[in-house]
Symmetry: C2
Subunit: 389 residues, 2 copies
Amino acid sequence: MPSLAGLFFWIMDKFKDIKKITISKPLKLDCGKTISNFPIAYETYGKLNHEKNNAILVFHALTGDQFVTETNPITNKEGWWITAVGPGKSIDTNKYFVVCANVIGGCMGSLGPRNINPETNQPYGLDFPVITIKDMVRAQETLLNHLGVKKLLCATGGSMGGMQLLQFCATFPDKTFSAIPIACSSSHSAQNIALNELARQAIMADPVWDNGKYFLKNVQPKNGLAVARMVGHISYLSEKGMQEKFGRKLQEKADYEFSFNADFQVESYLRHQGYAFVERFDANSILYITRAMDYFDLSKQFRGGLVEAFRNQKTKFLVISFTSDWLYTTKENKDIVIALNSSGADVSFSEIKTDKGHDSFLLNENEFLKTLKGFIDSMYEKFKNEKGI
Amino acid sequence: MPSLAGLFFWIMDKFKDIKKITISKPLKLDCGKTISNFPIAYETYGKLNHEKNNAILVFHALTGDQFVTETNPITNKEGWWITAVGPGKSIDTNKYFVVCANVIGGCMGSLGPRNINPETNQPYGLDFPVITIKDMVRAQETLLNHLGVKKLLCATGGSMGGMQLLQFCATFPDKTFSAIPIACSSSHSAQNIALNELARQAIMADPVWDNGKYFLKNVQPKNGLAVARMVGHISYLSEKGMQEKFGRKLQEKADYEFSFNADFQVESYLRHQGYAFVERFDANSILYITRAMDYFDLSKQFRGGLVEAFRNQKTKFLVISFTSDWLYTTKENKDIVIALNSSGADVSFSEIKTDKGHDSFLLNENEFLKTLKGFIDSMYEKFKNEKGI
């Protein structure tokens, strides 16, 4: 572990060997500012076949990154979707070419607030422009051209990944043959904005955050960021799932300690998750990415609302929700299905019964993984028979 | 407003004129420590009648206090239960004698971490003993003797107030003729412990908190405390209620600002609620009271579990829950009903249909207020006819 003083360059150095393209073409962001010559970091698994019809694009969620499966070379942890993606898995990398890019605003190699601002030669911090889900998606679309993929077999993503996917389909209606939005929403609800605001307030309340300038001192607002992460972990589980997993079990003690230490396992879990997160994520990135999620409202972009967003879609959709997900409820997912139906799109819907809450899409949920596999494999058969891709 | 240096004494001075008794008899707390000669601050509304059979004890929730109705003389705000308590209201102060005491651990005049520790002549801070719901209730029972009330007509409370009430009935089975636990639980769930832990972590993450010693410097860890309060406000509303109240409405602007200011009304609401709270509550009190809630598990106190806790109850119960309350769900309230039924107690149950979430018990919910009134008035008729109180 390097000294704190060297931390910044050590972090930047770690990203040297990951896959990256530089997008030279200027991208005008929704906020009005323009970025150019910016990096998009990505990873691929499996091989693009000769016909170039086996590519699957995965969009990652808030704290995800491009390392979908295998071992993340930066954090040395398992890829975040190792349950679903890999050889012989639902998204079978023996068969399909899987691509995932780090979102702009993130901190795994794509342009984000930790990068150097060419105007100041310092890390951006809060000088980084406020980005949107649409900005993220437009940046990633460029990557497909670079990889020689004209049309995807499928695009998928859960949570914010699903939001990117809906935006991708609305903005680039001919770019994917099929799409699987999972546990998401076409516009962020008041409760979800509130939870994100809570996370942001926790970060901004930490004096170390220093108006986003902490990076100049090679420190992290770790207390605020840890609290922000705890908000997430509470919202990713269901009440019932949490009760089954932790209940009132005590953490390695026979009885209450009558103190403010972690007496309960659920407290210990939250503290651990919160402080472990600090090692792998950047506080300013949480601010930017949660803001993009809150701003997401697909219906706002089209005069005719959500139905208009999906007008003339040829993409075949499978929308998936989880019964115990209270962050992106079945109702919100059904609203997407209703809009797709109203716009005449080809859409299926599957609600998976589970107590595991929003986290379900990342877990070994058999019915979910079978549904995913069945849909993708059948789409591949259809796509192969289609002419003139 | 006094200078910061004078804040502590100014605060203490404000409590001079409120009703208070000093309990001289030592109280051995669940943690093993003993307190004695400690203050219990309280308020009363209406008059105790000659027969002394019209007394209603109200237990307050986490951030409540003894000022149930009229104007709180310390904060100059409306009493927290002005919707339900007052002349001609459901709990009619023209008819009934209403008593409410500030819980120990609180900050409205009863013994709490802000009081002077006689051993050090400094405010307790974290030297204050960790208290339980049972400790709170035992301290309050003493007050009834002081007021000359042998047996209450009714005792009631929502949220933590309901938890105190369940404890009160279990510990003092002959002290109330009827009881109305509202929107509560007989033991804190993992999700509720997690939300409380989140609030505590937010406070303890604030360097101003300084291990609970902030009071020596006449400051408050206001950022941490504000974030803690925001957690509460999110959990008190339902997802649907929040969507109806705020949705994606912007705060006095025509479009997104592309910044981290409060663009959405729900953000503005949370910030306002968070920072307003800092003016009226003490951060250490939040730590102590949430801890007491987390430790609450009535079934743990009795070998035979919850059924045994209510064995031989003559008290007539009405349990009330709200359909959209996700903090203390109908299921948790029904579990109380099932235990009461199993122990042979006299119990009714009412689930009120509303989108207002946990907050419903504080609001003008017509069906709820009618139910409350109907039950209390009928209990009064029965209690009057009972002999030998």
